[in-house]
Each structure stands twice: as C-alpha cells, then as structure tokens.
C-alpha cells in the first residue's frame, strides 16, 4: 500500500508539473526574451538563459531617447510607456468597477425579480456573439460625432459595455446561489430591499464579485482591438503601446517582451490581493 500511495502521489505531481510547464512556457519565454540583446531575439538554436543578459529592453521603455545601446537606436522615436501605463491605470480600473457595479445591480434585478423577462439575460450576451470588429465601424462613426475618439471616457464606456454581459452572467450565478430565505429573513426583520442587497447579499457574494472583477480587469487590461482603433496619441493603452515597438524591418521583440512583463505586474498584484476571496468564490457551493 505505501508503495502505491507513493506512485499515485508521483503521478499526481507529474500531471500538475506538466500542466504548469505548458501554461507557464510562454511566460518563461517572454521573461527570457526581455533580457536578451537583439542578436539573441531570433537566434537559432534558441537560448533559454540569455548569453549576454541586458536591461536595455526595460530601460528603453521609459527613456527611449537615451542612447545606451543598439536597442535605443531602434526605438529612438517611440514615446515613453509612462503615458500608456497611466492611461491603462485610469481606464481599466474605472471601467472594471463600473462593469461590476452595473453588473451586480442588473444581475440582482434579473435573479430576484426576473427583471426584463426571460430573454434579457440572453440578449445581453449578443454583444459578445459578434466578432468585435463588426462593431468597430458603426462605433467609429458615433464616436467621431461625439468627440470620444482618443479619450479616456471613450474607452471606459466601451470597456464597461463590452464586459457587462460577462460580469452580469457571472454575478447572476453567484446571486442565484444565495438562498432567498436569507434575504426574506432580513426583510421580515424590517430591512428594506436596498439594505438587504448591500448588507446581506453583497457580503455573501464578495468572493464571486472579486473573481468577476479580476477576470473583467484582465479582459480590459489586455484589450487590443478597440484600443488600437479608437486611440491614436492621447489615450493609448499598454497593449497598443506594445504593438508600437516595430520598425520597417520587423518587430522589436526585446522591448515588446519587456513591456509585456511590466504590464503584467499590476494584474499579478491585483490577483494576489484578492486571492483569499477567490478561494471562497470557488468553494462557494458550501454556503447553503
């Protein structure tokens, strides 16, 4: 028996290890790439550990004009990423918060009162059924006449709208899981519906909200298509900035990788901060 337990433990860890390797392989590759000088970007055979590691890819993100080496020369005309970073840090948290707040209110109405009829939850999903590019042209026309192109507000509205379906469905699932009796008990205790929503239901689905918020945050943080089409200078976000590191001869993989790593840091921090809620969200079925 001990022998069997030992092998089954080994198998389990083996499987976990393989999954981790597959999942993290691109991350590891990007991380390694971000420290490589240009001659190693496309070297064959590839190197995992850079032979001549350098920080230049990172430095040029913030000080592109500062002549340190060959990479600075390539990206001489690029803007510092500071602006894109700040833009993303404005647009993404605000649109995520809006999406979650509106999503919670809408999900509550749908879950508890069947607001909007049976078809509403489904029809909300239609915004995610079309290829996003299908919306681009009509929206471009609207945005031009409204003066929303290349503005924070323009992207905030767009991100809120496009993630709403997602947060609504996810949060609705969590609200559906809260027994009505708990809310009714609070109502019989004299609490108003709003009070029940915010002091009973909301705390009970905190983990679910955190999970939804994290996913929406990631979706917005990495959104590329709309940001590319609807911004040009002022409201450029990080994913667009990544695409800017390219020249006539090809892409500048080093700075792109470095920016990818830098851009992932806020998400990692956000994920770390809310992970204790996430665990609760995934063990949610235990609340009966």
């Amino acid at each position: 028996m001990p022998g069997r337990a030992w092998t089954s433990g080994l198998t389990r860890w083996g499987v976990v290890l393989i999954v981790i390797l597959i999942t993290l392989a691109p991350v590891v590759w990007v991380l390694s790439l971000s420290f490589k000088p240009p001659q190693e970007w496309l070297a064959y055979p590839p190197t995992l550990i850079p032979r001549q590691p350098t920080l230049e890819n990172y430095l040029v993100l913030f000080w592109p004009g500062n002549p340190v080496g060959v990479v600075s020369e390539m990206v001489r005309t690029a803007e510092p990423v500071t602006r894109a970073f700040i833009n993303s840090l404005i647009i993404v948290p605000i649109s995520t918060a809006l999406s979650i707040v509106i999503g919670f209110l809408a999900a509550y109405g749908i879950s508890r009162f069947g607001a909007g009829g049976n078809f509403l939850p489904f029809s909300v999903l239609t915004t995610r059924m079309f290829p996003p590019i299908a919306f681009a042209v009509p929206l471009l026309v609207y945005y031009r006449s409204l003066g929303l192109i290349d503005t924070h507000l323009g992207l905030i509205l767009m991100y809120t709208t496009f993630t709403l379906a997602f947060s609504l469905w996810m949060i609705k699932g969590f609200i559906d899981g809260i027994p009505r009796h708990i809310e009714e008990a609070a109502i019989l205790d004299g609490a108003s519906r709003w009070r029940v929503m915010f002091t009973i239901t909301l705390p009970l689905i905190r983990g679910g909200l955190a999970a939804a918020a994290l996913f929406v945050f990631i979706m917005n943080w990495t959104e590329f298509l709309f940001a590319l089409i609807f911004t040009s200078r002022f409201a450029v976000t990080l994913p667009v900035q990544v695409s800017r590191y390219a020249g006539a001869v090809g892409r500048y993989y080093g700075p792109q990788a470095a920016l990818g790593i830098v851009a992932s840091i806020p998400v990692l921090i956000a994920g770390y901060l809310i992970q204790r809620y996430l665990v609760r969200a995934f063990t949610f079925g235990l609340v009966k």
Partner: protein, 373 residues
C-alpha cells in the same frame, strides 16, 4: 354576531394562485392570541404558502388578511412585525451570532445600549451567551435553531411563524427539539403558527391543528378532535400510524333496524339513522375504526353481545417493543390492522376473532369524503 374576542390573525377567503395553479383555495381561519397553531398536511398542500402570505412574503390572489382587526393584506413584510423561522434557519452566514440577533434591532434604529440589553437577554434565555461571537456558519444544527428563534424573539414580534423547523434533525434529536420548542412556547408565551408534515409533531405541539390537503383546510380542531373525530376521509387516513382501517360497507334496513354490512361483519346503527340517511351516496358508506380500538375477543370471557365480531387470520406481525402491529386478513380477503400489547404471542396463520364497539365506528360519505356525525 356580537363582537367576540378579536382574533390575532384572521384570514378571509384567501386564495393564492401561481401561474394558474391553485396553491391555496378560499381559506378562512382565525389564529387566537397566545395559541400554538399547527398546520399539518402532505408536502405541496399549501401550508407553507399560507404561512408566507401571513408574513407578507406572498401576496394573496384573492382574500384579505387581518392582524388585530386591521387589514394588512397590502402591507409589506417589513411593516408587519412578524417573526418567521425558515426551514434552513436562513441565518446570516457572514455575521456573528451577535450581529444576527442585533440585525433587526439595528434596522429599527433601536439605541445601541437597548440593543445590547435585548440581545443579551434573549441569548441568556436560549443559552446562546457562549456562542455570541462565533460566526453563524460555524454552528451546529441545534444551536442554529436556537439562534434562528432568538433572532425572531428579539424583535418582539406579534406572532412567530415556523416553517418545518425540525426537518433537519435526525429522528432522536428531533423529539428532543420538539420538547424544547414546547418548553419555549410556555416560556415566551407567544402566539406560534407552526407548519409541519409530521403528524406526531402537530399533535404534540399544537393547541389546535389545521389539517390541509390540496390547498384547502380539511379540518381545524384540537389534536383530540382531529384524531378521534376526523371531519373527512382525508384527515382520517392521514392522521394516525398505523392508519385508520377504512372499510366499505353497505347500508340497509332489515326488520326495522338500520344495518351496515360488509362481507365480513354487520352492525346496527339505529341511533345514527338520521345522520346516515342524509348522506347522498347511500347505500355505500365507509366505516373507519382505529387500529387501537380493535380488541381480540377472549373465548373464556364472552364479551357483551352488541360487539361487532370479525373472524381473521394473522398475516404479518410487526413488533414495536411494548406494542405490536398485527396485519390481519378477513375471510373475504380484507386487510385490517390492529395495535395490541405485546404481552401475548402470535404466530402467522393464527385464527383470531377481533371485536369493536359499534359506537366507535366512524362513518364517511365516500363521494364527498365528509364524516357523518
């Protein structure tokens, strides 16, 4: 009618429909101040719906609800000051026991010192002082139940509504908690309306029992009344374990006597002739007799001649410790159950003669289901 003592709660012609299906139909009922009223019926009979309408969680499709003579049909639940204990207790899992108890008082903007005093008082009465700081999600079932009760009591409601609160307990504990509940009712002296599908619970706890079936009230009465004088066939067959023996009989007049006869026995019912003849489905009637009213006749000491005698064969013996249940087959193949002290030994196949007093037999109209009294 003179203004008699006002009922605490009065339901007038209450009907509730859900998408065309009728859950409760034309219900009239009064709940008296201080009484323990039990709703008893199979699941889906509308008893919980009735409770929810009293609480204001459902709005009746038709009919009116009065609280101390005041019409409250349109009042939101928040305004009614009614305590409701849910089947799963519906505690606020994310709060401490203290906060659970204080919730209703905080909502009512009771001053903090007063909240503290009332919560402590109720916690003391229900022995919850040691768990006040625990999270509600970490309690065991019987503590949860006490917290649920305390949470209701602390707001000093007009009436306590309890929806199958003992359902989650395993059988042994269930009886213990039943006794606790009864003790609490004495202790707090509050009006309680209690929903259950467990007849023993209803008969032990209730001052009065409302037997419901398919959205209608079958009978309202004391536990004795519903047990010994069931108003309908449904009540007769639903209450009692093992159930009442229900036997088809025919009514006829022979030599000036009113007789009920089945394939196996005959009895004279001269004194009930008037009542019987008012029945519309004559000559067919149903005779009901409780298993514990049947006795085994003793050949050594002949019993009085007016007893009904039925020769039977023992078909199955089910010992229950002090008592045992005998399944008996009559000559015509009819199954009769009786309960008898286990002092005597029986074997399957024994020939016996069982007897009962004619006046113990209950009669029902098979078409309307109504008892003939």
């Amino acid at each position: 009618m003179a203004y008699k003592e006002q009922a605490l709660i009065r339901l007038e012609g209450i009907t509730k429909e859900f998408n065309g299906t009728i859950a409760v139909q034309d219900m009239n009922l009064e709940v008296q101040e201080g009484e323990f009223l039990c709703f008893l019926g199979p699941s889906g009979c509308g008893k919980t719906t009735t409770l929810r309408m009293i609480a204001g969680l459902e709005r009746p499709t038709r009919g009116e609800i009065y609280l101390r003579g005041q019409r409250i049909t349109d009042w939101p639940p928040q305004r009614r000051n009614i305590g409701f204990m849910f089947q799963n207790y519906a505690l606020f899992q994310h709060m401490s026991v203290y906060d659970n108890l204080a919730f209703g008082l905080r909502v009512r903007r009771v001053p903090p010192a007063e909240i503290e005093r009332r919560v402590r008082a109720v916690a003391q009465a229900l022995e919850l002082e040691t768990v006040l700081n625990l999270r509600a999600s970490r309690l065991d079932l019987s503590t949860m139940q006490r917290v649920a009760l305390a949470r209701i009591l602390v707001i000093e409601p007009q009436v306590l509504l309890l929806d199958e609160p003992l359902n989650n307990f395993r059988p042994g504990l269930r009886e213990l908690m039943r006794a606790e509940l009864k003790r609490w009712q004495y202790q707090f002296g509050r009006t309680m309306v209690y929903v259950t599908h467990d007849q023993e619970e209803a008969l032990t706890l209730g001052d009065r029992v409302v037997v419901m079936n398919a959205g209608r009230i079958e009978q309202v009465g004391t536990p004795d009344e519903v047990y010994w004088r069931p108003a309908t066939l449904f009540v007769a067959s639903f209450i009692g374990r093992p159930p009442m023996n229900l036997i088809s009989v025919e009514y006829r007049i022979s030599e000036g006597h009113a007789l009920l006869s089945s394939l196996d026995f005959e009895l004279r019912v001269d004194e009930r002739r008037g009542i019987i003849e008012a029945s519309r489905s004559l000559p067919h009637l149903i005779l009901g007799i409780r298993p514990e009213q049947l006795q085994i006749s003793d050949p050594q000491a002949p019993s009085p001649g007016d007893l009904v005698r039925i020769p039977v064969k023992v078909d199955l013996i089910r010992p229950l410790g002090r008592k045992l249940i005998l399944d008996l087959k009559t000559r015509s193949g009819l199954l009769i159950q009786m309960v008898t002290p286990s002092t005597r030994r029986f074997t399957v196949g024994d020939d016996l003669e069982i007897v009962f007093h004619p006046h113990q037999a209950l009669l029902f109209d098979p078409q309307t289901g109504q008892g003939l009294y």
